[in-house]
Symmetry: D3
Subunit: 209 residues, 6 copies
């Protein structure tokens, strides 16, 4: 068994430079449809595959009493090209993650503290699939469908969610409708909401027009 190292090395020498086991994002290099360019493998260290940003609770001192902390490729470059990313949800008592979609990924959620009521709405028949999850329970949300999470406990609840893409996107309904310059008349025509209500919500969320 001895002494074969030197010769054995010849076997794999020529392959070494070619293998792309991973593609840690170089956030400053060109981005393409499949993700960011890869950081040079010689500069990659174990730290590139570790993310500590989900350790602490997000700040829930806000009107929705909730926080979403993302670990997408822009925050966690190690996931680039690997088909996965994460986020942490903190929901204070009465906290709500409002109606939203992820345009580019399915989501799987596990409750790690408290209890959460979550649900999604199918596109085929507008059917609601909703459940109240206790600690350790898992729920999956199919790609692109409207869904929500609500604290179902008297205490702060926490969930960890994983997406089937390093860059799932996050479109929060209220922000999409009311936090931009989409004209009130156009929002009204396309949602059947009252113009006065829209103007109020635009005022609240910083929208104009």
């Amino acid at each position: 068994m001895l002494h074969f190292a030197i010769l054995f090395c010849l076997l794999v020498a020529s392959a070494n430079a070619s293998v792309q086991d991973f593609c840690v994002a170089d956030l400053k290099a060109p981005q393409g449809p499949a993700g960011y360019s890869c950081k040079s493998p010689t500069k990659v260290t174990a730290k590139d595959f570790v993310f500590s940003g989900l350790v602490g609770a997000g700040n829930t001192s806000n009107i929705i009493k909730a926080a979403v902390t993302p670990a997408f490729d822009a925050q966690f470059p190690g996931v680039n090209g690997l088909g996965l990313s994460m986020a942490r949800l903190d929901l204070a008592p009465k906290g709500v993650v409002p109606m939203h979609t992820h345009p580019g990924a399915s989501e799987i959620l596990v409750v790690t503290q408290g209890s959460i009521t979550a649900g999604f709405i199918s596109s085929s028949d507008n059917k609601v699939y909703t459940a109240t999850l206790k600690k350790g329970e898992v729920m999956v949300f199919p790609q692109g469908l409207l869904h929500f999470q609500i604290n179902a406990a008297g205490v702060t609840s926490v969930a960890l969610v994983t997406f089937s893409s390093p860059n799932p996107g996050l479109q929060i309904l209220d922000f999409a409708l009311f936090a931009n310059d989409l004209p009130t008349d156009l929002v009204s025509k396309t949602t059947f909401l009252d113009p006065a209500l829209i103007k109020t919500l635009k005022g609240v969320l910083g929208g104009t027009n």
Copy 2:
């Protein structure tokens, strides 16, 4: 050049049975994540690849003065497995295709009559990308993002849209929120809309709770 047919045939004979050039949907056989099971190739005819359901105008005698006629795999089995499907949009004067998403596909639209104002909202910064298109102009809507179409002409306008999936899905915002049994309280919590308004819209759209 003559007389090589018989022998030449040997070349391809054994390959004949194996090629799956297409997979026309057998709507009654098992469906999997990649689509419907294939109809037996021996029963496939040219008609399976042709769809006439977009020839006529959809019925726009409704409150939105608009109609969406789909040619998805369930209506047009020939597109199963081919990564494409279509739909026809008819918008009478003042017609609107309300805010909606396609959870599983990007969309490309071409105006074939009249003029249409269309737009989508990005998830990254809620920016609105909107344009008024005249006959022959094309607009593309990235996958999963909220978008809308409004007649911009004094006459009926028509568009043909193609999706990057045989089964793109169609989630119309108002129906997802108000046409089901999602409790009013829950809709209110997750959208910040007024419960009374929600109840009104549920009444209109057939929702309960």
Copy 3:
């Protein structure tokens, strides 16, 4: 409902920079197997998602009495990464889009004026699937198979086609065989066409050797 905008913003602030809703092609940056590099999102406007090049008729004053006007990613950078592109076919009376393939995409066609006879040939058994389509009718052509379109009306006919790729490719049979420097002898051996005929066609189409 009031005053939650400022705090609510914290929820999504850190996610903003990371979402790739789209990847408008930067035609001058590196291209990879998945498409062009993305233009900086800050420079993207609604115009990037609109293409007007299919509004006018292509020039059919040619021997085939037909024109194909592409809206692929190189012409319409907004489709990069979105899995779709388009083209317009104009066929004057007796016009023909000759036998061709798209190596990288399936195609769906809708007639918007006149009438068109179209067909494709399966690879498994060389079976021809052909149909004459009137205005509004749709036909789908599976990826990579030889197909053609012929005007079936006494007037100019027009079709809009969509592909399941931003860059479907277009290999026109006559050009592939006769418009290059492939030696006549080699064309003859691989197609069983007469060398004299090949030389004639090469002359017509600008081929050499």
Copy 4:
């Protein structure tokens, strides 16, 4: 805003049957390369998207003082076709999840209790990327590479892991080498381990030959 429900319904009526928002696995129907056949949508309920099997600790009263509890498609049919699945790792003090690979998926791990030392080995240059993670920290393991997890705390540690496939596979090195009928001589030749050692390990793990 009133009374448009009935007519509006016409808009989407024909699309209802065609949308495949999800494909809950029918474990008894044919399986294909893309996953299990779909359960009839009419029989799908919210429960299909919820999995409670990760709530309780796995049994770590074994020689490795560890347990892996899977929530793959066979256990959690709701993830079929959605590109995600999960598992729970319990590591008692000194517990170890031995060297293994997932042939079909990348993995993202978050520590929810205690502390875990984890690592993977690159294929390009056999470089080890290892880290000791505390509660809340995340590590990603690229697809197909050998990796391991070891309890780094004096107490039981727990991690939740998500895979980029509903069916990632799990190949544990010792079982692959020693728990089957692969002849000792062949194992020795292909691993350079001593035949006597192999026989011992086979004895322990139930292997033969």
Copy 5:
């Protein structure tokens, strides 16, 4: 190290049924867009992953002095779902594999006997990429493009080719144009070949109309 087998087994017991390492084709069960249904894993043996049909030479006693022997999924069910298939090319002296495409796969070829001249034609500018390969040399043919192989030796040459799909398809130009019932007039219009020539070729290849 002893006696942990029984307890260790608990670790993986629940995962056993769920892993789909492979999906050997059940040629009689439903086929979908991703391939054939899987044979029951309990009936799979090593023989399913072995194919002996490429051992012997194909019959080149035909007009093209060549034979293509496929090992696609229909002949070699073990490749179903694995993204690969093979074929063997035998070219007697002066043998030719005529112009053809594979609609669904790229191809990589290695000469194992003799010498072969091969080439493909790009779709973008009809440029010909051709090379004469000696034994052991490799050439790659991008998906969907017209290509050919010609014996370049005075003796029989052999090549082994692999495709990037279990079912690449094989469309031989002469058969697609002349071995079916596509009307002579239509072939002429779409290829600019002389009707008389087409009729001759149809006669040779068994075509009608």
Copy 6:
């Protein structure tokens, strides 16, 4: 049929620049998750699609009496983006390609000289699928599973293998475990091998710690 070249050219002129038939790797430009950036098409020649590095035998004068010569994208830039790559295996008498995996690809092998015993181990139940192949026989190895090849003849045997990725990776078990700085204690804990044995193997293979 004459004189249509000039006008016909207009048909495709605008499409020429846009088609990406291939993406030959520019090994010095940015790499992304889908592969290397493309070399400028104007600099691509037929030589980019040909690889001669598998013509000669690899050097088997080593302890394993075997050599693996890769034709991955780093060696053969023409395969970038095409979903395929190759390698040549040379096994002198008693030669062995030791236990290894390809994290990113399935493999198909054909024996071109001598005889080879090959096998892989399933992850689901550690079942061994093994076969002795004679010249011309083919075996397929599903993605990511441990497998091996052993010379089964008294003479040098040769195989050509193709992978379903331009960059399949190659993780050789002994090198992954013993040829790096993974601490002996950690290897022992995760493999149940004896520390003394591990230190010996580390010494042989150049590992430390």
